[in-house]
C-alpha cells in the first residue's frame, strides 16, 4: 500500500508560497496573481514549458518549481524588465530565475526555521522532466494573471538539524 501523500500536505507552508507569489508579482511586476485550488502532482513533468527551479537547503530540503506557460513567461518578463528578450537568451532565463528566486526567498522568510535557497536554474522547452522527492507530496498551485497561466509546484520537507 502506498503512502498517503495527500494527508502530508502542509497547508500552512503552501499558504506561504501563495502569499509570496502574490507579493512578488504585485510588487515587482504590478500584476495580480489569482490562485486556484492546489492539487497533487504524481508525474515528473512540470505543468508548462518554462520552469524556474529553486532548491532548499539547511532545515528544509527539496525544491520549488515555478512553471510558466511560454507566453505568460514572455509577457511577465517583458513587464518586469521592460525588454522583449528572445526566449533562448541568457537575459530571458535570468529574469525568469530572479522572479523564482524572489518567490522562494520570500516564502522562506516565514518558515521559522534555518533554511537556505539555491541559485535558481531555468529550463525552457516542451516535455522536460524534473526529479523530485518521492516521500512528500508535490503540491501544484495553479495561478492565473492577465498575462496567462503559471503554477507554483512545491515539493519540500523539513529535516532535523544535524548535530555538530
Amino acid at each position: 500500500m502506498g503512502v498517503d501523500l495527500k494527508s502530508q500536505i502542509d497547508t500552512a507552508l503552501i499558504a506561504l508560497f501563495v502569499k509570496s507569489t502574490k507579493n512578488v508579482l504585485s510588487t515587482m511586476i504590478g500584476v495580480e496573481a489569482k490562485v486556484r485550488k492546489p492539487d497533487l502532482r504524481n508525474d515528473l513533468q512540470p505543468t508548462h514549458d518554462v520552469s524556474g527551479i529553486v532548491g532548499f537547503t539547511g532545515e528544509m530540503t527539496g525544491s520549488v518549481i515555478i512553471s510558466f506557460h511560454e507566453e505568460t513567461a514572455r509577457s511577465l518578463v517583458k513587464s518586469f524588465t521592460m525588454e522583449d528578450y528572445d526566449l533562448k537568451s541568457d537575459d530571458f532565463a535570468d529574469a525568469v530565475g530572479e522572479i523564482c528566486n524572489m518567490i522562494a526567498g520570500n516564502a522562506k522568510k516565514d518558515f521559522g526555521i534555518d533554511a537556505g535557497i539555491s541559485i535558481p536554474n531555468v529550463v525552457i522547452g516542451r516535455d522536460h522532466y524534473v526529479t523530485r522527492l518521492r516521500d512528500v507530496p508535490c503540491v501544484v498551485i495553479p495561478c492565473v494573471t492577465e498575462y496567462g497561466e503559471f503554477s507554483v509546484e512545491v515539493n519540500i520537507k523539513k529535516v532535523s538539524p544535524v548535530a555538530v
Partner: protein, 124 residues
Amino acid sequence: MKILLVDDSKTMRNIWKKVVLGIEGTEAVEAGDGVEGLEAIKEHGPFDLMLVDWNMPNMTGLEMITKVRETDKDTPIIMVTTEAEKPRIIEAIKAGVNNYVIKPFTPDALMEKIDETMKKVNAG
C-alpha cells in the same frame, strides 16, 4: 556619486541601475558576484555607495562585505536580498552593512533606503 552594483542577476542590476541613475550625477559600475565586486573596487574605486546581493556564485555578498570591511570601514553598503530572516539581517549588520532592503521591493522603497543611508553617513 559613484555606485557599485553587485548582483549575479543582470535583471536585478538593471532595475537598481534605473533607480540610481535617477540621481543626478550618478555613475554606476556593475559586478556579477563578490569576486567581481572586489575587483571592481580595485579597478574603479573608491565608491560612494555599494548595493550588494547576498546569494551569488563564487563569493557571496556577505563574504565580499566582510573582505571590504577589513580595509574600508566607511563606504556605505546596502544589502539587497531575499534573505529576510532576523538572524540573517543581524549577521549582515555584524559584517558591516549600513542598511538592508528585502526583495521584492518597489523602486521608491529602494530610493528611500539609499536616501536614508546617505543622510546618516553624511551626518557623520
